[in-house]
């Protein structure tokens, strides 16, 4: 595909596809939970962008994009944030337990 026919939506679509790959790679290959959580969020960002590309291509009826996928993304971003907050709390609690038991070992 030549640069002249490349439109913004396609460009961001390719970016979203690459982000999905990067995020998946991180989720599978990281052992540290916080890094997996970051990778999950990278992956989520890529998936949401794909929705945005679909919305952009579905522009019509005077809207710059199809409103339905955009609305889905808004729901999705809020859910992803909640998941991140829950996961972070679990990670911190787990670390706190580990630190407490380390302290016991030394004393």
């Amino acid at each position: 595909m030549s640069l002249a026919t490349l439109d913004a939506a396609t460009l961001y679509g390719l970016m979203g596809a690459v982000l999905v790959g990067i995020g998946l790679y991180g989720i599978v290959l990281h052992d540290v939970f916080i890094r997996r959580l970051l990778a999950f969020n990278l992956l989520g960002g890529g998936v949401f962008i794909l929705f945005g590309v679909i919305a952009r291509r579905g522009a019509g009826a005077g809207f710059p994009g199809d409103p339905v996928p955009q609305a889905l993304v808004i729901t999705g971003v809020v859910v992803a944030f909640c998941a991140t907050a829950l996961a972070i709390t679990l990670i911190e609690r787990l670390a706190a337990k580990d630190e407490a038991s380390d302290g016991d070992d030394h004393s």
């Binding site: 640069l3 439109d7 913004a8 396609t10 460009l11 961001y12 679509g13 390719l14 970016m15 596809a17 690459v18 982000l19 999905v20 790959g21 990067i22 998946l24 790679y25 991180g26 290959l29 990281h30 540290v32 916080i34 970051l38 990778a39 969020n41 990278l42 960002g45 962008i49 945005g52 590309v53 952009r56 579905g58 522009a59 019509g60 009826a61 005077g62 809207f63 994009g65 199809d66 409103p67 339905v68 955009q70 609305a71 889905l72 993304v73 808004i74 729901t75 971003v77 944030f81 909640c82 998941a83 991140t84 907050a85 829950l86 709390t89 679990l90 990670i91 609690r93 670390a95 630190e99």
Partner: protein, 312 residues
């Protein structure tokens, strides 16, 4: 063409910081990379003319997600991590590349015309009294999703609280802050918070007819509350307080009550009588804004760790 140059730059930077976030050895550097990712994605959404989403990403991705991740990264001890064997990395890398390639193929073979519900959204928008099509989707056509999402948010908060020690149940999040009057922070808070509240309310208010809305506005309000807590201007509330519980539940309750009233009055659950559609939707949005703002703020504040009745 100039626009495309900007898009190319944004896309390259997004991929660059994403790679950095996955590849770096340093956990903190990865988190900073992720915050940059959130900022750049906001630009990408703006370029995709998805202004409502860009606002959401700016408030959540660029704002509060960064706050919880950074706070956690400072408190967590760095964990030494061994790299996986090169064979595994190559294998997983190839698999992920294959998935990316398959998605790219789908992206490059677009349907003409692209499937879209834009026309249907436009056709029925007048009966909702709203001008912003995305508000129409969220509050009318797919109102069930939105209602359940508020339940998801509430459950996530309850899940965070569930991780508290038994004794601290009913207590408040300590929201560890530095010693009182940390530099210019309290002053910053006192001046910024009123401005932020005005902006948050404005974003909710324009949401009916222009990009904006309850989730974005509520996130801004939540951010102001978090700022007040970080600046030591206020404490997080005790989670056992009935009034707090009522504030958290108010949004879903109002939504549900109006939705159920739609069964006799408008012929279906979550249908609005046409004459009253806009005022009812606005009422729901106001209640949801308050509840979501409180919920998001408490999600960032974390689980309660101060035993009720015991002050440190």
């Amino acid at each position: 063409m100039l626009g495309l140059a900007l898009d190319l730059l944004i896309a390259a930077l997004v991929i660059g910081v994403a790679l950095w976030t996955v590849r770096t050895r340093d956990d903190f550097a990865a988190i900073v990379g992720f915050v940059a990712y959130g900022l750049l994605l906001t630009l990408a959404w703006a370029r995709l003319a998805a202004y409502d989403v860009a606002l959401t990403e700016a408030a959540i991705g660029g704002g509060v997600t960064g706050v919880i991740l950074l706070r956690a990264s400072i408190r967590l001890k760095p964990v030494a991590t061994a790299r996986k064997p090169i064979g595994a990395r190559i294998l997983v890398g190839l698999l992920c590349a294959a998935i990316s390639a398959a998605l790219a193929a789908v992206v490059l073979l677009p349907m003409t015309p692209a499937p879209s519900l834009a026309i249907e959204v436009r056709t029925h928008l007048a009966s909702t009294g709203l001008g912003n099509p995305i508000a129409g989707v969220l509050m009318a056509y797919r109102a069930l999703d939105t209602f359940l999402e508020t339940v998801v948010v509430l459950l996530a908060l309850f899940g965070v609280w569930s991780l508290t020690p038994d004794a601290a149940w009913g207590g408040r999040p300590a929201m560890a802050v530095p010693a009182a009057a940390f530099g210019p922070l309290p002053l910053f808070g006192r001046l910024l918070i009123p401005v932020g509240i005005v902006i948050g309310v404005y974003i909710v208010w324009v949401g009916a007819d222009a990009p904006g809305g309850k989730f974005q506005g509520a996130t801004i309000l939540a951010a102001m509350w978090i700022l007040a807590m970080m600046a030591g201007l206020t404490q997080a509330p005790s989670i056992g307080r009935w009034r707090l519980r009522l504030l958290l539940a108010a949004g879903p309750i109002v939504f549900l009550a109006i939705g159920l009233a739609g069964i006799p009055l408008a012929g279906a659950f979550l249908a609005y009588p046409e004459a009253l559609a806009k005022p009812l939707i606005l009422l729901i949005e106001v209640a949801l804004t308050l509840s979501i703002a409180a919920t998001l703020g408490l999600l960032v504040a974390g689980p309660p760790d101060v035993t009720p009745g015991v002050e440190p």
